[in-house]
Symmetry: C2
Subunit: 152 residues, 2 copies
């Protein structure tokens, strides 16, 4: 048996595809997302990936992010019309976007919380996916802003 076996090393296992290959490039892109779980954009992933594999191209980064999203290994996260960001956290979670530091934070669902119960869904709707995005100010920026506002 060879060395470590992470989720990223088993190929077609996790996808809905019969043929998803965890290539060197895809591994690098996946590792970039796992290294810093800060929801980078494709361009940011590209820059970081070049550190590990100088020859990789932006097109390939886009390809990898696309196929891995399709395969369900990562998630694409959209905030308004900004560039898509990517997230390797597969638990169901919401995203909190701090408008001060422009960081995106993962927000976990409370146990037993029923998301769909809060909504007046028409009878017979089939829900495949629920996307929750919150905007505001994170605790760190909130206290910093409070201080700068009181000193005037």
């Amino acid at each position: 048996m060879p060395h470590s076996s992470s989720i990223a090393e088993s190929a077609s296992t996790h996808s809905g595809f019969g043929d998803f290959r965890m290539t060197k490039q895809r591994k690098v892109v996946y590792d970039v997302l796992m290294d810093e779980r800060d929801h980078p954009t494709a361009s940011e992933v590209f820059l970081r990936a070049k550190g590990k594999m100088p020859g990789i191209s932006l097109a390939t980064v886009y390809n990898c992010l696309e196929t891995m999203t399709q395969a369900g290994l990562i998630k694409q996260v959209n905030v308004d019309r900004e560039a898509s960001r990517y997230c390797p956290n597969l638990r169901p979670h919401a995203h909190f976007f701090c408008s001060e530091c422009e960081q995106i934070y993962d927000i976990d669902l409370r146990r037993h919380a029923d998301l769909e119960a809060a909504w007046e869904l028409p009878e017979g709707s089939r829900i495949d996916h629920v996307d929750v995005a919150m905007k505001g100010v994170c605790p760190k920026c909130g206290s910093a802003t409070d201080l700068s506002k009181s000193e005037n």
Copy 2:
């Protein structure tokens, strides 16, 4: 007293701005959204607006949608990376996107439902806005699909 007084006829009243003018073009764009509350894109609004005001330009439609969004008269709705759609429904509501008919439906919040309670928000977070988007199949398409699937 002249004719009807809708929300769209009072100018700076509803905005955070000191100077928002409800111009002829903005009224046309607003009325397009009110006429068919189906979340059209900017291009769709443009086509419909030309019916009421042939000389209007796409740039102006974009400008109107932008300023009216800023003013809080309408909402911008984003589904994935697709073109933004626009919605004049100011009540807090979620959006349901049917992947069959590609229609967007407004989903109202149940009374007394507490959206933020479902999430493990870090202490001290300030939430300004919560965005909920659901994807699936609407009742109409759901039953239609069932029939076409069983006849084979």
